[in-house]
Amino acid sequence: MKGHNIGDILFFSALRLVSWLTVLLFVGMLVFIGHLAWDAISEKGISFWWGFEWNPPMDEFGAAPFIVGTLASSAIAVAIATPISIGTALFLREIAPRRIASIAAFLVELLAAIPSVVYGLWGVFVLAPLMRENIQPFLSKWFGPETYFAAALGHLLTAIAYPFLLVGDALGFTQVTLSSLSAQMMAFSQGVFDGAPLGLGLLTSGVVLAIMITPTVTAISREVLLTVPDSVREAALGLGATRWEMIRLALLRTGRAGLVGAVILGLGRAIGETMAVTMVIGNRNEVPQSFFDPAQTMASVIANEYNEADGLHLSSLAFVGLSLFVISLIVNFTARLVIRYLDGKGKA
């Protein structure tokens, strides 16, 4: 409708065409990877996701170890990175003088610019030996088997799981006694920090991931904190709140949704991260039982095996990729919803 200029009509049609090609590119991703994965999808269906055996020579393909590995390593990363990132964002906003804040923010940005493979290199040759020689022995001494921590954790998990057990019993789903539940939970918690300190493994990959997502989460948290109006901060300070009380009452509470969104975006990055994880996680296709166990994530198994794979193996790896794709889309979408919720609240 706008204008009748021939040049305009041509130009904007071309613009539209190219834009739709890009949209198509995205849709094409799903289609093409789905096509690659088709053999595995039609053979296994969604039971692929809870198959625990991954044994290419035997044509056994279950993705559960990788899904667990991805979730566990990302969870560790998020657990470590969340306090550090939000703490740093608060530091930059509330404590650091302007000049120091800008330098620190710059350094954090540099951290974000380091390529994944360099983190992996550093993880293999610097962090892994450190984990093996110092950190893992320390952790297993204080939190490993036969420690107060393991016992306490076992009891705690039992206490948490027991109500569910009762409900399950009442509905007739489960028939587990308290003592057998307790025994299972104890066995689990004894194992959390058990195992040979290999250096490479789940915990190491979690730490590397934490370092990698910290800049992302920090940057977004910082933006979120900047949207809290100064009047809110000043109101709190004016009421006689200490700086920390103001941070807690004004900043953290007002920015809650945005900070959660930032953390979820960090989680999304951790889930999709490939190279660094592939290099430090130890690459064992089994569900890890301990933080020290070598494991495998969805991304790392593709990176490791794709070049040597063919037939159903290749197609199963593509299926893993497709699943990873869908999971990251869901995670990022959730983050966006959460942040939009914040936006809506900000406007109201």
Binding site: K2, G3, H4
Partner: protein, 267 residues
């Protein structure tokens, strides 16, 4: 309402005429059935309280209004020679060709950032495919002289247009509009962002421009309208209340609403 002017316009040929012109923003009807005739080489002032549709009205005259999302125009605008049967809203008319005949100067000076003073003036021709250096040089100088800016900038034509002062920038924008040799020049409150001295210079300039083009100027400053225009139209709430010779309008308005506005009772 506009009959008195229309009859007068019979003698001098009209440079621009609108017939039942309507404009909308979405559902908002902002210009309501305006019929107006502007004689050649007039300075025609459009006055009225803000929000009365006068800016939208002149943005219809070079088909700029329709570039806004959700904007719509209905009616006829006749400019001799501009289009088939002179109607710039006839189907199939390329708005681009209209805008070459109808120049515009905006409220705030808006020279193209990144372009030199020279290029700001020459760009309209350059992009129309005129690249001969001597022609461009000529046009730039003439236009800058017409805009009373030449003496101030002739030694720094390569400097960015944005380096000039606000008043100079506005005159640069006038030179830019004149460079494509329009039949009609639309000015949308061209001095509202300027200081009194710059305003005075632009007013002088507009009076001189009369010899070369027909000027429609929107202003909310009634003294300005009185100083520079020979005809005035009073707009209110999207309607044309009254038109006439400027002197008539200011000394002896026919409509009581015009009188109220002119004597400062509202607006």
């Amino acid at each position: 309402m506009a009959s008195s002017v229309s009859t007068q316009a019979m003698h001098a040929p009209a440079a621009l005429e609108t017939r039942d012109l309507n404009a909308w923003f979405g559902d908002l009807h902002v210009v309501k059935g305006i019929s107006l005739s502007v004689p050649q080489n007039d300075v025609y002032a459009l006055i009225g309280p803000s929000g009365c549709g006068k800016s939208t009205f002149i943005r219809c005259l070079n088909r700029l209004h329709e570039e806004t999302d959700g904007a719509r125009v209905k009616g006829e605008v006749l400019i001799p020679g501009a289009a088939k049967a002179d109607n710039i809203y006839a189907s199939g008319v390329d708005p681009v060709s209209i805008r070459r005949r109808v120049g515009m100067v905006f409220q705030k000076p808006n020279p193209f950032p990144g372009l030199s003073i020279y290029d700001n003036v020459a760009v309209g021709l350059k992009l129309a495919g005129i690249v001969r250096r001597n022609i461009l040089d000529d046009v730039v100088e003439t236009s800058l002289r017409q805009a009373a800016l030449w003496e101030e900038v002739k030694d720094k034509l390569k400097k960015p247009g944005t380096s000039l002062s606000g008043g100079q920038q506005q005159r640069l924008c006038i030179a830019r509009a004149l460079a494509v040799k329009p039949q009609v020049l639309l000015m949308d409150e061209p001095t509202s962002a300027l200081d009194p001295i710059s305003t005075a210079r632009i007013e002088e300039l507009v009076i001189k421009l009369r010899n070369d083009v027909t000027v429609l100027i929107v202003t909310h400053n009634m003294q300005q309208a009185a100083r520079i225009s020979n005809r005035t139209a009073f707009f209110l709430l999207g309607e044309l209340v009254e038109t006439g010779a400027t002197k008539e309008i200011f000394t002896n308005p026919k409509d009581t609403r015009t009188e109220q506005y002119i004597t400062g009772r509202f607006g």
